[in-house]
């Protein structure tokens, strides 16, 4: 396995369940005790570390034993620290859940803003009240002094001290109020990124593209979805109208069929037993992924090892094409029939502009967040159709970041869900709390408490039957070089988190994986073939 994902780490992963009986104060207290124990064990280890032995046979024997015990203490320290991290994580998480129940506003970041506002209120109240009380006293004092001055021609010096204190307090109250208003503004800004706002942005993109189309500017009206060979060549694929995709008017199965007839025999499949009408080359065969972490690992492979010559694995390198992977699982059943199921793998954002030639851009993000058909979801369906997927066949979707948003959007798309049997969705670091996922659809989601991308929906993922939400906290001991700089959003972190959960799985996860195997018809007989499709926006 990869060093990046297996190195010892500081992550803790907790399945979010609600409602629960949780006493966060007792969690905090227990976490503190574990920390004390870990410190104690460290000090014992230090004591052992100071032991020296002579270089004789007996001395060496003793040194070996001491080294062994030192290792034992180290392992105990790590386990104690894990418990400390886990309880601290649970405490933060369930305080946030409690807060969400009160306010309907739940993410770590949102919660911390709300907490800050709450903390600021008493300070502002005290400052304002103090300034007010002192001000009144001071004004009375001034009145008296002025009167005295007038009558006695004395020097009213002491009220100046009051005036000075009053002025300082007024200043303090004003500063506190300003700070409060600033934080409130930040809070409002955060809330603006609710779905309704994203929908408006998506509509704006549509208008922008319409204007560009009218002015014959940069709008790229066509989407090309081409099968990719193992050595990066692009085969003939389909061309979709992006305007129709945006408006949700494309019937992809019909379009793919029509274009299949149009391209003629030359580009048609050579695949055995009528596997596919299109020439879609298998780029590899893999061990059937049976765990969440191995499925997430595929998103890493798609991100880091794109095949199309027009693609790139580097962030913000302006690649000409995006890429989507489809894994086809073929399983021979005891009655001799072969069942097929498909895993669609989406990677994350690769370009922060709104109209990149690759579809892994902000336009796709905003459209998917608004639950609108987008270029990535359209490409995946075109890929499925080119592979000859039949109505009713099982399809699951996996994605990191943008890939998770697109997965949730496509799974919730009525036409897609009617055509195929959508069996599940796996997301990592994706804001999918408000997606249109059907109740009861098996979903596994991972969200880091400090992942700003996952927090964009400002909500905790809903709990529902078969939906497992995992909260991640802490950091990888050796965070990988992450182009976006968002360590808490890193795919490697999420893969490690999934591996951690799988090392000691709850019953719910075991059940989830069993259901997945059944719905996807996976067994030891399953053959899993990998296909890649280049996704390019064109004029």
């Amino acid at each position: 396995m990869n060093n990046e994902t297996t190195s010892d780490n500081q992550l803790s992963v907790i399945q979010i369940e609600s409602p629960l009986q949780v006493d966060t104060e007792s969690l905090q207290q227990a976490a503190y005790q574990y920390q004390q124990v870990a410190d104690w064990l460290t000090s014992l280890r230090t004591t052992l570390g100071l032991v020296t032995s002579s270089p004789t046979i007996f001395g060496n024997l003793i040194a070996t034993e001491v080294a062994h015990l030192w290792g034992t203490l180290q392992a105990l320290t790590e386990k104690t620290q894990q418990l400390y991290r886990r309880l601290t994580h649970a405490q933060i998480l369930y305080e946030a859940v409690e807060d969400a129940n009160i306010r309907g506003f739940s993410h770590g970041r949102g919660t911390s803003i709300q907490q800050l506002l709450q903390q600021m209120k008493p300070a502002i109240f005290i400052s304002v009240t103090a300034a007010d009380v002192l001000g009144r006293t001071y004004r009375k004092f001034v009145f008296r002094q002025v009167t005295k001055t007038l009558h006695l021609q004395g020097k009213p010096s002491s009220y100046l001290i009051f005036a000075l204190i009053d002025f300082s307090l007024l200043q303090l109250a004003s500063d506190a109020k300003t700070a409060y208003e600033e934080v409130k503004k930040a809070d409002t800004w955060f809330l603006r990124y609710s779905n309704s706002q994203v929908e408006k942005i998506a509509a704006r993109i549509a208008r922008m593209n319409l204007e560009r189309q009218a002015a014959n500017q940069t709008f790229l009206p066509y989407l090309h979805v081409n099968p990719v060979t193992a050595d990066g060549q692009l085969y003939t694929g389909v061309e979709l109208n992006r305007w129709d995709i945006m408006l949700g008017e494309t019937n992809i199965p019909q379009t793919v069929t029509a274009q299949s007839q149009a391209v003629g025999a030359q580009s048609r499949a050579v695949g055995a037993q009528g596997q596919t009408e299109w020439n879609v080359p298998v780029v590899g065969e893999i061990t059937t992924p049976l765990t969440v972490s191995t499925l997430l690992q595929r998103t890493k492979t798609v991100r880091d090892k794109p095949l199309a010559k027009t693609a790139s694995h580097k962030f913000n390198e302006k690649p000409r094409s995006g890429e989507v992977e489809i894994i086809r699982h073929s399983t021979r059943q005891p009655d001799g029939q072969v069942t097929r199921s498909y895993t669609i793998v989406f990677k994350g954002t690769q370009d922060f502009s709104l109209d990149a030639t690759t579809s892994h851009d902000m336009q796709t993000n905003l459209q998917a967040m608004a639950s609108l058909r987008n270029d990535m979801s359209a490409s995946a369906q075109a890929g499925l159709e080119m592979l000859g997927a039949q109505p009713g066949e099982a399809v699951e979707l996996v994605g990191h970041s943008q890939g998770g948003i697109v997965s949730a959007e496509l799974a919730g798309e009525a036409a897609f869900a009617q055509r195929y049997q959508v069996t599940g969705v796996i997301t990592a670091g994706s804001p999918v709390a408000e997606s249109n996922l059907a109740e009861g659809l098996p979903v596994v989601s991972f969200e880091h408490l400090d992942d700003p991308v996952a927090a964009l929906d400002t909500k905790m993922n809903p709990n529902s039957t078969r939906r497992l939400n995992y909260s991640v906290n802490g950091e990888l001991a050796n965070p990988p070089g992450n182009a976006t700089g968002l360590v808490d959003h890193s795919l490697e972190g999420y893969i490690t988190a999934a591996q951690q959960v799988e090392a000691q799985p709850e019953r719910s996860l075991r059940e989830w994986l069993r259901t997945r195997r059944e719905l996807m018809h996976l067994s030891k007989e399953t053959r899993s073939e990998v296909f890649r499709f280049a996704v390019t926006r064109k004029k």
């Binding site: 907790i14 399945q15 979010i16 369940e17 629960l20 009986q21 949780v22 006493d23 007792s26 969690l27 207290q29 227990a30 005790q33 574990y34 004390q36 124990v37 104690w40 064990l41 014992l44 004591t47 052992l48 032991v51 020296t52 032995s53 002579s54 004789t56 007996f58 001395g59 024997l61 003793i62 034993e65 001491v66 062994h68 015990l69 034992t72 203490l73 392992a75 105990l76 386990k79 104690t80 894990q82 418990l83 886990r86 309880l87 649970a90 369930y94 000691q504 709850e506 019953r507 719910s508």
Partner: protein
Amino acid sequence: MEDLSIRTSDTLAEVSAELQQVLNTCRAITWTWDGAAAEITRQQHAQLLLEIELAVQAFETTVTQVRTWEWQAQVETALALAGG
């Protein structure tokens, strides 16, 4: 063998005694949290207790072993001196 290794068994005995106290402290840690994630945490806690118990035993066994080696080393040193 010189005094250093004699102190080793004493040090080990001291650490062993402290580890027993660590175990008692851990046994006393409690919290209120139900659900699947809490269940896993309780399993980890139980596992930690078990491993500390085993570590205490390992320390005790090692103390005995190290005392024997220290004694043997002293005997050998004394014999060597007498022979010399």
